[in-house]
């Protein structure tokens, strides 16, 4: 490295002790945390039709979502879903700023939960600061120890829940009690648990500041009509301390009493009064803090508030604007495409692989034969009967195939198949189609292209 004095790799940032805050947005954030974490921890335990409702069964390569079973071949749906999720993030960012960061991001949500445990064991901000400075004592050991105990148990439970999305959680619970959890399963549970512990217990908003790509590029989606959290400089300045009885107008003071509460509550340690900064994760703690002070001073609320740049400049805020229309249109098209393709999806997969060893075989009676391996997958949950046929060459027939093929629910049938046609009809490379038709009257069919080779004419 070229730095003359390389700083130590593990030099730690000065610890931030965010002050606890109550108010409208703190309540909203608590609600979001409880709801989202509640969903995360409860969802794997839900049962649908006698099976885990949300199970991404990696060992058997099938995804169960409520009544739906998705196979690896359905990956395009997942890709489309992820694109929709990303675009929704853009849409909401342009509309309301970093809502995601402040209320829904797993980093924020788990950090919030870890801070609750910290406050429960170590007390308020000032108590925590005092405790850290104090020499080791029985009290300090007890408080720090119980915090670690809560954090570690919570992390382990989180890791266990995480792997419970990928392997049946009830069986996993049984294995856990009997100490027979598989090696890799245990590894991933510890891995995820440890990541939660590190990210939510120690790194916290440093993750947002230094490691999150979204935090860096979200400003590209901002414009002057985006909802941001801002300090109203026109109203607040000149700031300064004063008695409650002071006549502000006479003294030439603004509304900001410079109590620094907005800085103390900030989890990223910025001063909102310096303007919009990329470290701001829009948690709105400073709004709650400032509102409580304004109430005490009998000033109107909203010195720090959700607003837009246009509103701050006393211009009109436009909610509907070209950017929003483009994002919304794209979103609607993609969601429409997903719904349409999902509803038109037939739960059958037909794979045809031509035998590569021989081009074709000539049989007595001027018959040309090609061989194929057919893979018929029944993606539904019930056993189904199929009929297999082939079209594309005059008089082509299938040999070695029973009239009715039974494939169990979620089963795969692998079948060698011989297609035969008369030499007069089969020459060169011909396009054929295999058709699998269900015999239960549902009309579900699946076709798959292949080739039939004959002698050159």
């Amino acid at each position: 490295m070229t730095d003359p004095k390389p700083a130590s790799l593990y030099e730690s940032a000065k610890k931030i002790y965010p002050r606890e805050m109550s108010g409208r947005f703190a309540n909203l954030s608590k609600l979001a945390t409880v709801t989202l974490l509640g969903l995360f921890y409860a969802m794997p335990w839900l049962i649908w039709d006698g099976r885990q409702a949300f199970l991404f069964d990696l060992p058997s390569r099938k995804f169960y979502l409520l009544g739906l079973t998705l196979w690896p071949q359905d990956f395009p749906y997942l890709a489309l879903l992820l694109i929709i999720a990303a675009l929704s993030l853009f849409f909401f960012t342009a509309l309301a700023g970093r809502l995601w960061c402040g209320f829904a991001c797993p980093q924020t949500v788990w950090t919030e939960a870890f801070i609750w445990m910290e406050q429960f064991t170590e007390g308020t901000r000032s108590q925590r600061m005092k405790l850290d400075k104090a020499p080791w004592s029985w009290n300090k050991l007890r408080r720090k120890g119980s915090k670690q105990f809560l954090w570690i148990s919570f992390s382990l439970w989180t890791g266990f829940t995480f792997v419970g999305y990928f392997a049946p959680i009830r069986e996993l619970g049984y294995e856990l009690v009997t100490f027979s959890v598989g090696g890799w399963t245990a590894f991933w549970a510890f891995f995820y648990g440890f990541a939660t512990y590190g990210n939510a217990g120690y790194m916290r908003e440093q993750v947002c500041k230094y490691m999150c790509p979204y935090a860096r590029f979200q400003s590209a989606m901002f414009d002057k009509d985006t909802l941001i959290i801002s300090y109203d400089e026109n109203r607040g300045e000149p700031r300064g301390g004063r008695k409650r009885s002071v006549d502000v107008a006479a003294e030439g003071l603004g509304s900001c009493i410079d109590c620094t509460l907005c800085v103390q509550v900030c989890p990223t340690g910025i001063d909102i009064r310096d303007g919009l900064q990329y470290e701001c994760i829009a948690c709105a703690a400073c709004i709650d803090a400032c509102d409580s002070v304004m109430d005490k001073m009998n000033y109107p609320r909203g010195l720090v508030r959700y607003t837009t740049e246009h509103a701050l400049q006393h211009d009109k805020t436009h909610v509907i604007r070209p950017r929003m229309i483009v994002y919304a249109a794209l979103l609607l098209v993609l969601i429409g495409a997903l719904i349409t393709s999902m509803s038109m999806r037939t739960p059958i997969i037909l794979d045809v692989i031509r035998d590569r060893n021989a081009l074709y075989r000539e049989l007595p009676g001027e018959i040309i034969e090609n061989t194929y391996t057919i893979k018929l997958i029944n993606q539904s949950n019930d056993s189904r009967e199929f009929e297999l046929s082939v079209v594309g060459v005059t008089g082509i027939t299938l040999n070695g195939v029973e009239d009715t093929l039974v494939v169990a629910g979620g089963g795969v049938l692998s079948l060698p198949v011989r297609a035969r046609a008369h030499r007069d009809d089969a020459f060169g490379v011909m396009k054929i189609e295999f058709v699998a038709t269900t015999k239960d009257g549902s009309g579900d069919t699946k076709t798959e292209d292949s080739r039939f080779l004959g002698p050159m004419p």
């Binding site: 940032a13 000065k14 690896p72 490691m211 620094t260 800085v263």
Partner: protein, 99 residues
């Protein structure tokens, strides 16, 4: 009025920022890469591709794939970060005595 005590103050050192960004972003890339790769290939089908005698369990295959992708993107990101950070601040032609 705002003392260091109130502020989060000190930043992570540049080295620490780089190390954590590289580790985290390559981790995310590895997660996406693993997902896409194993949506197409079944680890069981890959048995015997690299080594005739290799008997791969599915979950071991997923883990091996994930760590391969992680190490791979970790090396890419780390070299990129190293090059960006150690590049000469100015070209030799524009260098003044002070540089």
């Amino acid at each position: 009025m705002i003392t260091e005590e109130y502020r989060g103050a000190k930043q992570w050192s540049r080295n620490k920022q780089a190390v954590f960004a590289v580790v985290w972003i390559s981790f995310l890339c590895a997660a996406v890469g693993t997902m896409v790769f194993f949506a197409v290939f079944d680890p069981v089908d890959l048995t015997g591709v690299f080594d005739e005698d290799l008997e791969l369990e599915r979950d071991a295959g997923y883990a091996a794939g994930f760590f391969f992708f992680w190490v791979f993107s970790l090396v890419c990101s780390a070299i990129t970060a190293f090059l960006v950070r150690t590049a000469p601040k100015r070209d030799a032609a524009h260098r003044t005595k002070q540089d």
